[in-house]
Every structure is written in structure tokens, then in C-alpha cells.
């Protein structure tokens, strides 16, 4: 095997077959994928099916706490989990840049294998393409995921009503800061790990147990909790009021935000969920979340209020301010 990806690895000839048989197959060795047919045959599936798709272009591909491979699996699993579905099969489309070190590919594949094992999903099919040097940023991964919906629960944003509680499963902004710090050029070091994690094990038992006591949920990825809450408020046609004192943020993430002028509400997360729950069960939902390794720092961060739809926040100073959609990147600023 060559040590770098060449254009010929994507042409469908012997090099492609070698790449699949000698590299990819070593990591994705499951019965569905093993025959390497044009499709993965999944057999008969019981239950209601959910389907999602995503693309992963993170740079750099490896960062403290995670990597593009783990991200690809977890992101797909989580999109299904927040809709009440347990992922069982994922596709893996690889777009590789000519010159990508083989070692980089293997690290990503190993991470996908490990994440898939943790999440209980099979990588059922895939594709590999190679683009010329300069036409792709190392490695891009696209996925599609299939899941089976949990019995007795479906997303019900229309059931949201005043008094419902807003819960967040853990600290904000860890992924964003980990990736930012991993990029060269800012000369900042921060002891922050990405929170990338598969959340089906955290969330699905809660949905099964509490039924429509949990109205609906989302995972706050790009744009952070701030953007996700605005989208949820619009979907549910509800007014959310957050409590600034209760937002969970790691000290180091706060440090980076202070230094660079960011607002943690708008930083990306890859292992968190926002839930809207009936006040009557919110305490028990919180306890259930905290019982799980990925929910130890879960918190009630606000509640659903009365009035025009939107997102507001009660500040530490006792005032009330809007939490709107951000505009543009959160660029480091000084003035």
C-alpha cells in the first residue's frame, strides 16, 4: 500500500479495491458490509423508521477530545436520537484529497469503528472518492443514518406550554473551543476537550420512560444553544426565558470567551441536547440525565413563559435581555 492517497485510489480499479480490502475492511468488518456489494442488505426491520443525513468538514480533522470520524458517527446517531430514534445503520461516504496521508485516513476509520461500537450502529455501506490536490480539505465524510423510533414517544412541539422547563444535558461550547484552539494562529492554549459523544444511551431511555412529559428536543450543534433555542421557540411558537446564573459553562471555555469576546450561547456543541419537559417531571428527567456519564452536568436552564414567541434571558444583574440569532462568525474582537 502507498503511504498517501493517490487519484488512482478513487478510480475504481485495482488501487480502489486494495484500499477497500486492505484498509477500510480492517476497520469496518461487519457482516452487512463484508461482501462489499453495491448496497448493504439490512433485512426486515420492525418499527417506524427515521432517516437522517449529514456532512462533516471539520478542520483540523483531529482535535482534543475527538476527530472527524467520531464526529461523523456521533452526529448522525444524535440527529436520530433527538427525534426519538435508535440508530442501527450508517453509511460512510469518504471524499479524500490527493496526498492525504494514509495514516490520517486510518486514524479516522479507527475512530469511526470505535464510535460505531459504542453507539451500537453498523456501518452498512460506503463509497470512496478522491479529488485532486487543492480541491478538498484533506478528508470530508458524508453519512446517512437509519433508526427505529422508540415506542410511545414522538416529538410534540405543539404540546409545549408555559411552565415547562428547559433542560440542557451539560456544559456549552466545549467542542467549539477545542477545535478553535487546535487551529494554528491564535496562540491560545486551553485545557478543553470536545464533547463529541453518541447520546442515544442518554436520551432514548428518558423518552421511553417519560413519554410526552418530554415535549421535544434538539442537539445544539453549529450556532450553539442560542440558535437552537431560537429555532425551537419558533417551532413551538413559545417564549423561552433563560436564567443566566444556571447556564453550565466550563471555566476554561469562559476564559476563552472573555479573552476573545465570544458568547458561550453561540458556540458549537457535539455531545449535548436541549429538552423541553413538563414541570411535573422535569426534576426526575434531570435526575435520569445526571445518572448517565454524558449527562452528569445536566441542568435546568430556564422555562417556558407567557407572551410573544422568542428567547429571553434573566441576567445576573437582574435585568432581561433578548437572545437572538447571531450574525456572522464569532470573530475574535477587541473593540
Amino acid at each position: 500500500m502507498h503511504e498517501k492517497i493517490l487519484l488512482s485510489h478513487g478510480e475504481g480499479g485495482k488501487r480502489t479495491r486494495d484500499l477497500i480490502a486492505k484498509v477500510i475492511a480492517r476497520y469496518f468488518d461487519n457482516p452487512v458490509l463484508a461482501p462489499f456489494l453495491d448496497s448493504g442488505l439490512l433485512g426486515r426491520i420492525e418499527g417506524e423508521i427515521a432517516f437522517t443525513t449529514d456532512g462533516y468538514v471539520v478542520t483540523p480533522p483531529f482535535f482534543p477530545g475527538g476527530d472527524i470520524g467520531r464526529l461523523a458517527v456521533c452526529g448522525t446517531v444524535n440527529d436520530l436520537a433527538v427525534c426519538g430514534a435508535k440508530a442501527f445503520a450508517i453509511s460512510c461516504g469518504l471524499i479524500l484529497e490527493e496526498g492525504l496521508p494514509l495514516e490520517t485516513l486510518e486514524r479516522a476509520l479507527a475512530a469511526m469503528k470505535e464510535a460505531a461500537g459504542e453507539a451500537g450502529v453498523v456501518i452498512a455501506c460506503g463509497d470512496t472518492k478522491v479529488v485532486e490536490r487543492g480541491k478538498g480539505d484533506g478528508i470530508f465524510i458524508t453519512t446517512a443514518g437509519l433508526g427505529v423510533s422508540v415506542d410511545g414517544w414522538k416529538p410534540s412541539p405543539s404540546k409545549v406550554r408555559p411552565g415547562d422547563r428547559i433542560l440542557l444535558t451539560g456544559t456549552m461550547g466545549d467542542h467549539h473551543v477545542a477545535v478553535l484552539v487546535a487551529r494554528q494562529g491564535l496562540s491560545i492554549t486551553a485545557p478543553v476537550l470536545s464533547d463529541v459523544a453518541p447520546l442515544a444511551g442518554l436520551l432514548l431511555p428518558v423518552l421511553a420512560r417519560f413519554g410526552d412529559g418530554v415535549r421535544f428536543l434538539r442537539d445544539p450543534t453549529r450556532g450553539g444553544v442560542g440558535v437552537t433555542l431560537n429555532e425551537m421557540a419558533a417551532t413551538a411558537n413559545a417564549r423561552f426565558v433563560l436564567d443566566e446564573a444556571r447556564l453550565p459553562v466550563r471555566e476554561a471555555v469562559r476564559g476563552v470567551c472573555e479573552i476573545l469576546g465570544f458568547d458561550p450561547l453561540y458556540l458549537a456543541n457535539e455531545g449535548k441536547a436541549v429538552l423541553i419537559a413538563d414541570a411535573a417531571v422535569a426534576g426526575n428527567v434531570l435526575a435520569a440525565l445526571r445518572d448517565h456519564p454524558y449527562g452528569r452536568e445536566a441542568a435546568v436552564i430556564g422555562e417556558v413563559g407567557e407572551g410573544a414567541p422568542g428567547v429571553r434571558m434573566r441576567t445576573l444583574a437582574g435585568g432581561l435581555r433578548a437572545v437572538d440569532y447571531p450574525v456572522g462568525d464569532q470573530l475574535p474582537r477587541i473593540c
Binding site: 496562540s187 491560545i188 492554549t189 476563552v256 479573552i259 477587541i334 473593540c335
Partner: protein
């Protein structure tokens, strides 16, 4: 006008220093201040330490806040 954050000087070498806030470290310039020691707190703006932070004055201000917070209600 100007975002400046308090940070602690952890290392220094000539005019260059590494400061820390909440576990986050950053390289900055000390060229605007004289005789800054490791362990001192400074205000950082645009990659420079622009002033020292006086711990004594900070404590006095905090003491004032405590008095205000503890003052009996005047209504």
C-alpha cells in the same frame, strides 16, 4: 472601547509573557509596563498588558460591594 480582561502572568521572558485566565493561556507583550513579575495580574487588550491589576484596590471595591449588599433596606 475596549475589551480588556484580567489575566495572571505565568511566565515571562523579556517583553514576552504567557498569561492565564481560567486555565486558558495566551502569549502577550509586556512592552507597555515596567517590571511585571510572574504571579502578578494584568489587564490584557489586543495582545498587550495595558495596566496592572491592584489586588488591594480590588479587595476594597469588593468590600464596598459587601457593605452595599448588606445595608439594611431603606424603604
Amino acid at each position: 472601547m475596549c475589551l480588556g480582561v484580567p489575566a495572571k502572568v505565568m511566565e515571562r521572558s523579556g517583553d514576552a509573557a504567557v498569561v492565564e485566565l481560567g486555565g486558558v493561556r495566551r502569549e502577550i507583550s509586556l512592552m507597555l509596563l515596567d517590571d511585571v513579575s510572574v504571579g502578578e495580574w494584568v489587564i490584557v487588550h489586543a495582545g498587550f498588558a495595558i495596566e496592572r491589576l491592584s489586588e488591594g484596590a480590588a479587595l476594597q471595591t469588593l468590600e464596598l460591594f459587601r457593605e452595599i449588599a448588606d445595608a439594611p433596606d431603606v424603604h
